[in-house]
């Protein structure tokens, strides 16, 4: 395309940005006129769309040309179609109005007679991957993947297309329908096909571990044929290494499955791993070959660690890794440290790693910050009670020299290790005070908050903490965070040391005051509260305290002024009761996962394929995998894991079952809250009803004579409900009537849709079906469910009227809303603080076994109820959080949900918070019913 080349050359010649802009604007105007010409031919259209793409890639706002892109897609020429699809993927977003025509074109192209057109369509789906494509095209893609007539290229692309859609819209692709048919393709003779299928399989393995179990043996066999039997074609040899990327994918896929049971399979796996390790003994000269070989070796070690079936192999791996971390190649040092952290996450005895502690500490000073990071991660992972002191002091020593970018993480890790492995109280306080002084500028408030929480929770710590706090305040320099901790601690426990030398109340106040002027507003605010508390603790220095407060009553900062005024007023109040009540000692903080920990874990959880391990050693990995018994050896640690695994909810307003998980478990076994129905027919209709709480279409009632189906569509605050009545009897039904009723005073109307009443048939023949549509309006939040009344007569019998509860609740008038993770937690907290509109249930959920199917089901339930799931918001990957807005004519109600499954306990906690209490309770009740009828 000469015109395009000339245009790009023109732009490159522009001396200044202004020149370039001028040229761009001229071209945009030109293209606009050209596009208006009716006679524009395909070649020119392609050329102009390419020019638009180029401008858009340079950062110019190009907001037209979408129609022309679609026209190119409809062209019969390959090159035009290609540019068309490229333009669609680069220019359009998910909301574009033209996307619908693109889907139509894709539907056509995916079945085109020429193979390359099908490939273009598959490329486009992978690149765009919108929701509609997932809904409309998945089955076509599956057909292409499985069809024996499809070429290798089609198969590869179809597999990755499915992967893209599966990752983005797991509920829309209905993977359970085809998941079982994919695994055999791991044995496909074409390496490209296997490569792509292995990627798809890895994602499926995480969601459907049971259904995909066969994949493990397929992967193993394929690996064996590559590594041991040398079965591959020469075009897949990369610098003398056969298909390195496929080897890696398969080694990685196997890490999502447990070690095989059969000794034969174990032996095969071991021989593969051994083969790979032996092959890497001689290091090749050529960089590419070395990298390819090492990339396989590291993945093989990872698999070896994961399988953990041969002690000898593990020892050998440890030795190899020990060699790597001193390698001259920076990349190898980096990967050696990383993989050693994986090893530390699994092995029982850390001795083989501790032997390298000196080298690892040295690596904190490596020339490359990436290597320094890995060294930090490894030290964090290999730390145990025995080595904690040494490692923590090394880290503190490095803190002052460490890069700014690394300091925050280092501080977090030191704080976590110190808390976890402290055996002496003094050590904890000393380390933390040093830590906040050293790294205070580089860490979030979580660290000092956590220190205060720990001190409040441990009585034995408090006297020593007071002494150190006073010392800190008296020192010539005192870091801001250290000041805050000290001020807080003295305010709470200053009286404990008031009788010691130089620690009288007056000394404490003076020490505080001396540093107060040189700190920030927020630190001064903490100090003012301490002064307020001093009035309560030490009446003897009340006047001095009041003087300090008085000085801040005129502070410019609103927060300081308010605190000073309020505390001053409290201190000068006549009655003596209010002051001690307000400044009563803080209760210990409820035991819950440390904010420090969640912060670290959240950062690591941001991966598309789940991590199979996390930094932080064996204990943490075990906790994460949810193993609580069996191979467990260390009892006391186990107990800690147990107690923190499912924190008791802090608020429990609704029902007894939210009290503690243990209580509710008992309750569920002895007398279930909802009295599980014993009559199979009733149980079945309850199941039907519950299903319609999260799915729009389904059977509501299935009896001997009639069957009732529901099809619902909601456009909050209205909706349309289709009722399908089928005759299952062998005789005709007469005098049919279908009516819907709402409870008296309910703020809901259900009326037959226009013209429907007239259409109702009087008689229904066997196997025939009658239907009736209703319009629904939700005026205001309602609680009583509407009912459906179906009347009919069978010849010779008295008329029958069946009354059925309709699955229409306020929760059905909810639309998903997507908000950011930060917003979610802000609102979650905000709603939680108000406390009233919360509904919480701890529900037995034995069906949620550890596999992903149960969780997947749970996600579709919550999504089906109208919540937008916010992925990756919750630090615990299994937890589900979502947001929706329920709309009534009178108003809209925001609604948040958090579901915390604990498969190991067989329990799930479901919390709904909404801006309206009835909404929260109604939706909470729905979730409960879905659980109980499962």
């Amino acid at each position: 395309m000469k015109g395009l080349t000339v245009f790009i050359a023109d732009l490159r010649k522009c001396r200044s940005h202004e020149d370039e802009e001028k040229r761009v604007n001229k071209e945009l105007a030109n293209i606009r006129t050209k596009f208006k010409e009716p006679s524009i031919n395909g070649y020119n259209r392609k050329k102009y769309v390419c020019k638009l793409l180029y401008m858009s890639l340079l950062g110019y706002d190009v907001n037209f040309g979408h129609r022309e892109a679609v026209e190119l897609v409809d062209s019969t020429k390959y090159s035009e179609k290609q540019v068309g699809y490229l333009a669609v993927s680069l220019l359009m977003d998910d909301e574009s109005e033209y996307l619908r025509s693109v889907v139509r074109a894709l539907r056509r192209d995916i079945h085109d007679g020429s193979e390359w057109i099908v490939c273009l369509a598959l490329n486009a789906i992978s690149n765009i991957g919108s929701r509609e494509m997932a809904e409309v095209l998945t089955s076509d893609i599956v057909v292409q993947l499985l069809s024996p007539a499809a070429s290798m290229f089609i198969k590869k692309k179809a597999a990755l297309c499915l992967l893209r859609l599966l990752r983005r819209f797991p509920e829309a692709v209905k993977a359970h329908q085809w998941v079982g048919r994919i695994a055999p393709y791991l044995g496909h003779r074409d390496i490209g096909v296997t490569q792509s299928v292995a990627s798809l399989m890895t994602a499926l393995a995480q969601q459907y571990p049971e259904e995909t179990r066969k994949a493990a043996s397929f992967a193993m066999r394929r690996l064996k044929s590559l590594v041991i039997d040398n079965e591959y074609t020469l075009d897949y040899v990369y610098y003398k290494v056969p298909a390195p990327w496929l080897q890696i994918k398969l080694l990685r896929l196997l890490q999502y499955y447990p070690a095989p049971e059969s000794s034969e399979a174990r032996a095969t796996l071991l021989s593969i791993l051994r083969h790979i390790i032996d092959l890497s003994q001689d290091v090749p000269r050529e960089l590419q070959q070395m990298n390819a070989q090492y990339s396989i070796l590291f993945e093989a070690i990872n698999l070896g660690i994961h399988l953990d079936i041969d002690q000898g192999l593990m020892q050998e791996c440890a030795v190899l890794l020990g060699r790597f971390i001193t390698s001259r190649e920076t990349n190898v040092r980096y990967l050696g440290l990383e993989t050693m952290a994986h090893l530390a996450a699994y092995i029982d005895r850390l001795d083989s790693i501790k032997a390298y502690q000196g080298v690892i500490v040295q690596s904190l000073r490596d020339r490359d910050i990436s290597v320094r990071r890995r060294a930090l991660d490894l030290l964090y992972s290999m730390c145990d009670v025995g080595s904690a002191k040494a490692i923590v002091s090394e880290l503190l020593r490095h803190m002052a020299m460490a890069d700014v970018a690394l300091r925050e993480e280092m501080a977090l890790k030191v704080a976590i290790l110190t808390e976890k492995f402290a055996t002496e109280y003094g050590w904890y306080v000393d380390v933390m005070m040093r830590l906040v002084s050293l790294a205070g500028d580089h860490m979030g408030d979580e660290v000092w908050h956590r220190i205060v929480q720990v001190i409040l929770g441990n009585e034995e710590l408090q006297v020593y903490a007071c002494k150190i706090s006073l010392q800190t305040l008296k020192a010539p320099v005192c870091h801001e965070s250290a000041f805050k901790v000290s001020a807080y601690v003295l305010g709470e426990f200053g009286h404990l040391i008031a009788n010691a030398a130089d620690s009288a109340p007056i000394d404490q106040l003076k020490a505080l005051q001396s540093k107060m002027t040189s700190t920030s507003q927020s630190a001064r605010a903490v100090a003012l509260t301490t002064v307020g508390k001093f009035i309560n603790l030490f009446p003897e220095i009340k006047t001095l305290c009041l003087r300090v407060l008085d000085r801040y009553r005129g502070a410019l900062d609103a927060e300081l002024q308010q605190r000073a005024c309020e505390y001053y007023a409290l201190g000068t109040l006549e009655g003596e009761e209010l002051l001690p009540t307000v400044f009563e000692e803080m209760p210990p903080f409820p035991e819950r996962q440390s904010a420090l920990m969640s912060r670290l874990l959240k950062r690591e959880a941001d991966t598309e394929d789940q991590r199979t391990w996390v930094y932080g050693g064996r204990e943490m990995n075990r906790e994460r995998r949810g193993v609580t018994s069996g191979a467990a050896s260390n009892d006391s640690r186990e107990a800690v894991a147990e107690s923190s695994a499912m924190p008791v909810p802090a608020t429990g307003l609704n029902d007894a079952s939210s009290g503690s998980p243990a209580a509710s478990k008992k309750g569920a076994q002895e007398a279930s809250p909802a009295e599980p129905p014993t009559d199979p027919l009733v149980a079945k209709s309850m199941r039907n009803y519950a299903r319609l709480l999260w799915e729009n279409d389904g059977i509501l009632f299935d009896g001997e004579e009639i069957q009732v189906g529901i099809v619902a569509q909601y456009k909050p605050p209205s909706g349309r409900l289709g009722v399908f009545l089928g005759n299952r009897a062998t005789a005709p039904l007469y005098n049919i009537s279908i009516t819907a009723r709402v409870a008296d005073g309910s703020q809901l109307t259900i009326q037959p849709a226009a013209g429907q009443e007239a259409e109702q048939p009087e008689t229904l023949m066997p196997l025939a079906q009658a239907r009736m549509f209703f319009d629904i309006q939700c005026q205001q939040v309602f609680t009583a469910a509407p009912t459906l009344h179906i009347g009919y007569t069978v010849a010779g019998c008295a008329p029958t009227v069946s009354e059925l509860q309709l699955p229409v609740t306020v929760g059905h008038f909810m639309d998903p809303v997507t908000i950011s993770v930060a917003d979610f937690f802000a609102r979650w907290k905000q709603l939680g603080d108000s406390g009233i509109a919360e509904s919480q249930h701890v529900l037995p959920s034995a069906f949620l076994t550890k596999d992903a199917v149960g969780l997947e089901w749970l996600r579709s339930v919550i999504g089906g109820m109208g919540f937008a799931l916010i992925h990756g918001a919750d630090p615990e990957p299994n937890n589900i959080v979502g947001v929706g807005i329920a709309t009534t004519q009178a108003g809209r109600f925001g609604c948040l949900v958090r579901v915390e499954p604990k498969p190991t306990h067989g329990l799930t906690r479901v919390t709904i918070r909404a801006t309206n209490v009835e909404v929260a309770q109604s939706i909470g009740g729905n979730v409960k019913m879905v659980f109980e009828s499962r």
């Binding site: 790009i8 390419c50 793409l53 180029y54 890639l57 950062g59 020429k77 390959y78 090159s79 540019v83 490229l86 977003d93 390359w116 490329n123 992978s126 690149n127 991957g129 290229f153 590869k156 692309k157 990755l160 297309c161 992967l163 893209r164 390496i191 490209g192 490569q195 792509s196 990627s199 075009d235 897949y236 990369y238 298909a243 390195p244 990327w245 496929l246 890696i248 590419q288 990298n291 390819a292 990339s295 590291f298 993945e299 920076t330 990349n331 040092r333 980096y334 990967l335 020339r367 490359d368 910050i369 990436s370 290597v371 990071r373 950062r603 941001d606 991966t607 598309e608 394929d609 991590r611």
Partner: protein
Amino acid sequence: MIRFIFVQNRQGKTRLEKWFGSYSDQEKQKLKAEVHRTVASRDQKHQSNFVEFHNNRIVYRRYAGLFFCFCIDTNDNELAYLEAIHLFVEVLDAYHGNVCELDLVFNFYLVYAVLDEMILAGEIQETSRSVILSRLEHLNNLE
């Protein structure tokens, strides 16, 4: 999975950008600038080809004046992607006949086609140089 692929020159001009997730225009601009700052300032001789980037990692390699950067997950195999970069460069080299920066500029729309034959949906699709090249030649001859 690969989050995005950039090819940038030493001045920070992005010659190829391929996104495998959805990002707003604003985020894209920011990420391109950040990646350049992170990668260009690193010592090519004594530092690894990997660097932490937000919650992900960048694997990169420099060829003449161009940085090829893949942004991947922290649990991905770094070396595998480092060699994928090399394979990509080899393919481009053979396709354009000794590729240079200007080839990428003037044939930007073709580079996407090359990429579509090798990497799709953020995963590696095809790793055989000869398979990719003969396929590209075949597609080039279509009208």
